[in-house]
């Protein structure tokens, strides 16, 4: 499983994580709904209802306010002067009837003088059935003269059953009463709000059948479940597809590696044999008295090239052995300094030949560790020979230090051609040579091989370079096996 996960690309990882996250949320919400269904959700629904009630209340108050304004305007008309003379010509009555018809809703308009009805848009009505708005009447020719009052009667029955869009809801107005024993309906949620303005003694109530209220929630539940299932299915599908792909890749890769290994050992073996004979035959010819000096020189060159080829093939073989972890590691107690000094002595003549200064900085006592001598030697040699190969002037510094964590580091610093930054990355890739310049006896396998060897003896090679012509700092860290 873990292998599968690490094998995925970043995109897929994010995608699957997100899907899992979404599914988690869905599960959480469903759990929440299922376990807290009745209490919390009803409370939420009640809040929605309260909000709706607020809107309705505002509408109602606005409507009432509008009616009040209409009444005030009517009172300013000049024809209202006739109230003073008891509407003898019925001009006021005609106006009130027309206006009341316009307003509709069963509204009654009444003009009074000294509390007595002078004119009214309707004859028979019971005052208790109405809500009353009133405004004073003043004479148009003498604004200070108080003539009486104009009233608008709004039928209460219009308030007791207001319209609501939802058939499962009921909206009505009722008088605020101090009586506490209002029977609460078990099947509905009811919210109330005290009104303002002319309806100050009233409250607006809105009721909603519980079943219908919760219906919307059940719908949500169903949707959530469906969404969850969909998420789950898509996740499974994605995983299945990916794993199939992954297995294919792994198989493919393994096959390739296997092939590679087989190929390498076969080839190297097949190559080594004839090459071995070429070499020995050439050497044999070189020491034959029948061969002239010129011919010996030519044979010498053949020998060199063949040795070089052999070296490369051997290297390849080692690499393949390393890859398939067939390289044996033998533990021995060794004095590190001795080995390093040995290796340095081999390359010293070459250094002197080139005119490079060699500086040894051995700043610690001799170190005794357990390690594989051959591998150790080869790593140290590789670092040194690289430094010599790629430096033409300046100096080479070597030193051995003990690190904080108990490991040791053998470092070789040179002032050579360095390694261009972009090539540093690919440094440990096989067959890659950082320096394009041709140098004798170089094989691209050097550093890659050394790194593998170092790892086998619990070590590591770290190469640093500031860039081209800025030298290289090669560090071989190791510790006891």
């Amino acid at each position: 499983m873990r292998k599968f996960w690490s094998g995925l690309s970043e995109t897929y990882k994010i995608f699957i994580s997100m899907l899992l996250f979404i599914m988690l949320i869905q599960l959480g919400t469903m759990y929440y709904i299922w376990s807290f269904e009745s209490k919390v959700l009803l409370a939420k629904e009640t809040k929605n209802l309260a909000y709706q009630l607020n809107t309705e209340a505002k509408l109602l108050e606005k409507h009432m306010h509008g009616l009040k304004k209409e009444l005030k305007f009517l009172s300013t008309l000049e024809v209202m002067d006739d109230v003073l003379v008891k509407d003898v010509d019925k001009r006021v009555t005609v106006l009130l009837e027309k206006k009341s018809k316009d307003l509709g809703e069963g509204i009654v308009l009444v003009a009074k003088q000294d509390k007595l009805v002078v004119s009214s848009s309707r004859q028979n009505y019971n005052v208790d059935d109405y809500l009353e708005f009133s405004t004073a009447l003043h004479a148009s020719f003498k604004k200070e003269k108080d003539m009486g009052s104009l009233h608008l009667l709004y039928p209460l029955k219009s308030l007791t059953a207001l319209k609501s869009d939802n058939p499962h809801q009921k909206l009505w107005v009722e008088k605020i009463s101090n009586v506490k024993n209002e029977k609460t309906d078990e099947n509905s949620i009811v919210v109330s709000k005290n009104l303002k303005g002319i309806l100050a003694k009233w409250k607006l109530s809105l009721s909603y059948e519980k079943e219908s209220a919760l219906e919307s929630l059940r719908e949500i539940e169903k949707i959530l479940l469906a969404a969850f299932l969909v998420s789950l299915l898509s996740l499974l599908f994605v995983v299945w597809r990916l794993s199939k792909k992954q297995i294919k890749i792994l198989e493919h890769t393994e096959g390739v590696l296997d092939l590679k290994r087989t190929f390498l050992s076969t080839i190297s073996h097949e190559l080594r044999t004839p090459l071995g004979s070429i070499l020995s035959l050439t050497q044999h010819l070189m020491v034959s008295p029948k061969v002239g000096d010129d011919e010996v020189e030519i044979l010498g060159r053949i020998e060199n090239s063949s040795e070089h080829l052999l070296g490369m093939i051997n290297g390849l073989l080692k690499l393949s052995k390393l890859e398939s972890n067939m390289m044996p590691v033998t533990k021995e107690k060794v004095y590190v300094l001795n080995i390093i000094e040995e290796m340095i002595e081999i390359v010293e003549p070459l250094i002197e030949e080139k005119g490079i200064k060699l500086i040894r900085e051995i700043s610690t006592q001799d170190v005794l560790i357990d390690t594989d001598v051959n591998l150790f030697k080869q790593v140290v040699m590789n670092l040194l020979s690289n430094a010599v190969k790629y430096t033409d002037k300046g100096k080479i510094i070597t030193y051995l230090r003990k690190e904080e964590d108990g490991s040791y580091a053998f470092t070789v610093i040179d002032t050579g051609i360095g390694i261009a930054k972009e090539k540093q990355k690919a440094l440990f890739q096989e067959f890659y040579q950082a320096h394009s310049r041709e140098v004798s006896h170089s094989t691209g396998l050097g550093l890659a091989l050394s790194q593998k060897m170092a790892k086998l003896i619990n070590g590591e090679i770290i190469i640093e370079s500031e860039g081209l012509n800025k030298g290289v700092k090669a560090m071989f860290r190791f510790s006891s096996l």
């Binding site: 006739d82 003073l84 003379v85 003898v88 010509d89 148009s140 020719f141 003498k142």
Partner: protein, 123 residues
């Protein structure tokens, strides 16, 4: 017999008699105050026979002339008299508002408690 037109005021009208010019002034909103009190002048509906008679006899202006006059008067902030639709209404106003001035048929003045301010004849 020519119709007799009587210009009347309410019971407590500040003056006992008015000249034709004075009445004209009041009804054309040139004069608003009588003895410091603002007078309410009353007219019948514009096509009422009594009003037409009044306009001809007392105001001495034709319909066109009055239209022209009131356009200019309105522009200068004046307002025409209040309109009542019947004699009953006129009489009711007389009862309730002081001081008021209007005109009625001569027969109407009997026992109504109105002050006769001017008598005229419809031509």
């Amino acid at each position: 017999m020519a119709q007799e037109l009587v210009v009347v005021g309410d019971e407590n009208f500040p003056e006992d008699n008015l000249t034709k010019e004075e009445i004209k002034s009041i009804f054309l909103d040139k004069k608003r105050f009588i003895d410091g009190e603002k007078v309410l002048a009353m007219n019948y509906a514009y096509n009422h026979p009594l009003r037409l008679c009044f306009e001809r006899t007392i105001l001495e202006k034709s319909e066109r002339s009055l239209e022209r006059y009131w356009r200019k008067a309105y522009y200068n902030g004046k307002r025409p008299p209040k309109v009542v639709t019947s004699v009953e209404m006129l009489l009711s106003y007389f009862e309730n508002v002081h001081p008021t001035i209007g005109y009625v048929d001569a027969n109407e003045t009997v026992d109504k408690g109105l002050k006769v301010l001017y008598k005229g004849e419809c031509s």
